[in-house]
Subunit: 243 residues, 2 copies
């Protein structure tokens, strides 16, 4: 039996180098797109349509959709939400289809859209996600959204956390160099990820915007068991698809 | 006074995202191109001409140049060397101009060729390099060659070592997220970098080729004070340029 290969890619711009359409691709944008998407499904959203540009988002808005649009960590004027997870809660989202565009996360989804499966990962759903990944028995790419195509620390940290958890759950996995590096990093950060990220560039950016509450929430594991997966042009909650 | 910015890029394919032609770019290909280049200058090579393709290298060979050509960690047939540093020693290289093409390192040099300065980094010249970088007082990008445009552990480790050393030498530096992650990684690996790299993909590749001696050599710091720098199409030893 061949080992399952797991690797990590640090930027949507580097995805073509790692691209294999037989892979499962896990999209990672911890602060805050993939955390917000998991939150919306936990709160009963029916579908989320990720779009790459603000212009596409505006077309949906004009048609009457609920639309979240964020650029440079700030809500774009004229839309219903930015990408704060706290916006994606309660009756606002329950049973709704929500369109979303963000600086980094929706770009990563767009880059990987032809993969075997595209799923959304965050600390919020990490256990459910890793359990499902092991069951699938298929090569995995952890795709970090980064910040404007550059490496960022929080997405890398989550990829390390997934590596650690997959490694604990199976001895049939073969990890690429990026995963090996990130697993070490995660072990270092484990005692206090919030403190570990204290000097990251994006955290400073968000702290200036007074988003400490968002950051703490996005780093808190296992708040949901949803696994958002791309079906056609929309994300749906896989657990509901399967049941 | 503005802080000097230091960042790291994990792949030549990602260079356009980090590109700033006012930067100093440090080219890193620890196993083995940049280690071999430092070795050649330490042994008195006059010039090295990095070329991106084997075809270009063959044109030089036909003109009578000494040419090193490596692909997939093996010497290409019909050339004088591969990229083992031990080939680039003694009278073979003294006073000579050597053309070199490798799987990864020469691609990185090619990508960054328009930067303010392109210099060659390896554990062999790390102290001399860091001392010079601080003197230059200019933004720095550490460009890891990786393996076929993917992240690799040994180049990342060296970028972490440079971050650590720059950080010790100056408090005027502002490090990007990649450097912060790599510095942590380097601190972990510091006790025994050879052991740390034990599971890296490329090390396994080289071990199959029986290159343990090369690996130990390439991980041994401060064997030379040369700083190879790109001038036009050729690398020269900066210390000789300056004196």
């Amino acid at each position: 039996m061949n080992n399952i290969k797991v690797d990590a890619c640090f930027s949507p711009a580097l995805y073509p180098v790692y691209k294999d359409d037989e892979n499962i691709v896990v999209i990672i944008d911890i602060l805050r797109a993939t955390s917000a998407i998991c939150t919306a499904f936990e709160h009963g959203a029916e579908k989320m349509i990720p779009v790459a540009t603000v212009e596409e988002a505006r077309v949906y808005k004009d048609k009457g959709f609920l639309v979240g649009a964020e650029r440079n960590a700030v809500q774009v004027e004229g839309f219903d939400f930015g990408n704060s997870p706290f916006s994606y809660m309660g009756d606002t989202v329950k049973g709704k289809t929500i369109v979303i565009t963000t600086t980094n996360g929706t770009q990563a989804i767009h880059a990987a859209r032809n993969a075997y499966k595209v799923v959304i990962g965050s600390f919020l759903n990490i256990d459910a996600l890793c359990k499902w990944l092991i069951e699938e028995n298929r090569n995995i790419l952890l795709l970090c959204s980064g910040w404007k195509n550059k490496f960022n620390l929080e997405d890398a940290l989550f990829a390390g956390a997934v590596t650690e958890e997959l490694n604990e759950r199976s001895d049939q996995l073969e990890f690429g160099d990026a995963c090996i590096a990130l697993q070490h990093l995660y072990e270092l950060a484990l005692k206090d990820p919030y403190k570990f990220l204290n000097h990251s560039s994006h955290k400073e950016r968000l702290a200036r915007l007074n988003l400490k509450k968002d950051i703490k929430y996005c780093l808190t594991p296992n708040q949901t068991k949803v696994i958002p997966v791309l079906q056609g042009d929309a994300l749906v909650n896989m657990l509901e698809v399967r049941s």
